[in-house]
């Protein structure tokens, strides 16, 4: 069993942290809206958002930056929430939303769609279908004699993910060169073609609400199936709900912006390092902090090498790797 240990107990008030994250979320959204190829001051931003002046600035903000910023925030929230749920489901601090092959199934479906020349606006539908198929495949394969264990789920998921990775390599090998760039961008995570729809915040909100209802049993489940059962938790039902919920959240995130790494892995750990492992705090805070991280990462991806736009997955990795290493040095002992 891999464990991560906090060496000091520096607990911050969950309520205070949540308020700080809420304010930081607003700040990150404002930064994302104001920075880009055309810089917009906070005053002009405010003016464009709340008074309909029909200027170019307003067009840039409302029609271009706002949808992308919202997509970034929602995707970050979905990934971080899914990561927190997945780590508890598998009782493994190294679990992330992609560990069980959900993103692999999605990637294979999307790459096939790209090869077939399907219009980009339908790609997210293919990604979603691929994720859901992979989710049911892993669920069915991990059942044995109607028995179900998180270890068996993890092993099945990892093996299925490896199979998807091989298929992805195969598709990349046989794909025409003209498709390769867009395929690689999608695999690294890219918000360039993300389209905002109302279902996205609805899914995030509904996922968070369901997770919050389960928060107390999740605190117990993190001690193991048997310990949770002895305290009166119906672990069979809870495990299945948890798997389906975290997989669907991942599927939605992947269908918005491809496979963006690190957010789902590091955000729950950053929060635990702040001294509180209670899921009633971790779950909503993950949504906010995940949203903040991805919004800022996407802003960097758009601006740091402008006019060249980087895939946001590269930026989250650039931010995520040193952040995680600093956390390991400062507070965690592996």
């Amino acid at each position: 069993m891999v464990t991560l240990t906090i060496t000091k107990t520096n607990s911050h008030s969950p309520a205070l942290l949540t308020i700080v994250f809420l304010l930081a979320s607003l700040v990150s959204i404002m930064i994302s809206l104001s920075l880009g190829s055309v810089s917009i001051s906070i005053h002009d931003l405010w003016h464009s958002l709340f008074s309909h002046t029909q200027t170019i600035q307003e067009t840039i903000i409302i029609q271009m930056r706002l949808p992308r910023t919202l997509c970034a925030f929602i995707t970050g929230g979905l990934l971080a929430l899914s990561g927190a749920l997945m780590q508890t489901l598998l009782r493994n601090p190294l679990a992330d939303p992609y560990v069980l092959g959900i993103s692999g199934g999605s990637a294979v479906a999307t790459l096939i769609a790209m090869m077939l020349g399907i219009v980009s606006s339908f790609l997210n539908l293919w990604a979603f279908i691929g994720s859901v198929l992979s989710m049911f495949l892993v669920l069915e394969l991990s059942r044995s004699r109607n028995q179900w264990s998180s270890l068996r789920l993890l092993l099945t998921g990892v093996v299925v993910a490896t199979g998807w990775a091989a298929l992805i390599s195969f598709i990349l090998t046989i794909s025409p060169e003209k498709n390769l760039r867009s395929m690689l961008f999608w695999l690294m995570g890219d918000l360039n073609y993300a389209q905002f729809s109302l279902w996205q915040p609805i899914i995030l909100f509904a996922g968070l609400m369901i997770s919050l209802i389960l928060a107390k049993p999740l605190n117990i489940l993190s001690r193991g199936d048997l310990a949770a059962q002895s305290l009166g938790v119906n672990t069979k039902k809870l495990n299945i709900i948890l798997y389906l919920l975290s997989s669907l959240l991942t599927a939605c995130a992947v269908s918005i912006a491809g496979c963006i790494g690190f957010v789902g892995l590091i955000i729950p750990h950053m929060l635990r390092l702040m001294g509180n492992s209670d899921h009633r705090f971790i779950l909503p805070a993950s949504v906010l902090l995940g949203g903040i991280l991805l919004t800022l990462a996407d802003t960097l991806a758009r601006t740091v090498m402008s006019p060249l736009q980087l895939p946001v997955g590269i930026v989250t990795a650039f931010i995520g790797v040193p952040c995680f290493l600093i956390l390991l040095q400062r507070g965690y002992r592996a």
Binding site: M1, V2, T3, L4, T5, I6, T7, T9, S11, Q87, T88, R91, N92, P93, I213, A215, K216, P217, N219, I220, S222, R223, G224, L226, A227, Q229, S230, L231, G232, V233, N234, R272, S277, D278, R280
Partner: protein, 244 residues
């Protein structure tokens, strides 16, 4: 008066029957020791009477009610189980862990009550780790973790305490102190204690009754002084009789 009864209880792992037709009554306030060689099914038996392992045939009753008919939370209020080992992959404080024992009683989602916190602090004090209340569980030594798990069980406040090797990871002094504590709790609060132990001397000293479990459906139960005889020990542990 709470009595846990097994009637013609048979337990099987896959298709192999571990023990069958076990009829036992664990009465309120009694202390039972379960003894037997490794692999005989002591832990499986404990998990079965805790309602966590499927019964092959027969039944387990809490007074007159089948435990399988109880809702999980209702069952947890009546039967508490200390596992041989616990998982703790994520950091959380000692106090938070002890308060987990209050889960079966909690109706308030938002936060634990003052009573929950007071009971958890009291349990930590009883097992001697109150001063560690705000430390991360992942910083505790093996012995401290074991005492925390016992504190969590005490916080659960069930009438029947099932303990799988409660003295795991404890030094000799702590073993004595924990077993004495369990005996004191059983006597003062009339709680039934059923524990798997490997130490015959500890069972003789602390248990009123003993259940010997062996291979091939071999089992024997009764008062400690009647059961822990040289003849029975020879039967259940044939290789250790020379040292008994």
């Amino acid at each position: 008066m709470t009595t846990l009864t097994t009637e013609k209880l048979s337990v099987a792992i896959r298709d192999t029957i571990l023990f069958s037709e076990i009829n036992l009554s664990f009465n309120q306030g009694e202390i039972w020791g379960i003894l037997g060689p490794n692999g005989a099914g002591k832990t499986t038996f404990l998990h079965t009477i805790a309602g966590l392992y499927p019964i092959h045939t027969g039944g387990i009753f809490l007074n007159d009610q089948l435990i399988t008919d109880l809702k999980p939370r209702e069952r947890a209020k009546k039967i508490g189980l200390l596992l041989q080992e616990n998982e703790s992959p994520f950091p959380c404080s000692v106090l938070e862990t002890a308060m987990i024992g209050r889960y079966p009683y909690q109706k308030n989602w938002f936060c634990e009550t003052k009573e929950d916190k007071a009971l958890a602090m009291q349990a930590l004090e009883i097992v001697g780790i109150k001063s560690l209340a705000h430390r991360s569980v992942l910083q505790l030594s093996g012995g401290e973790k074991r005492r925390l798990e016992i504190a969590t069980l005490l916080t659960q406040d069930s009438n029947i305490l099932l303990l799988d090797e409660p003295t795991n990871h404890l030094d000799m002094q702590q073993q004595l102190s924990i077993l004495s504590l369990l005996k004191k709790i059983s006597r003062q609060k009339k709680k039934t204690v059923i524990m798997v132990l490997h130490d015959i001397h500890a069972i003789k000293k602390f248990c009123d009754h003993v259940l010997l479990l062996g291979f091939n459906n071999l089992n024997k139960a009764g008062k400690t002084e009647d059961i822990l005889t040289e003849k029975n020990i020879k039967k259940f542990f044939p290789e250790m009789i020379n040292n008994f």
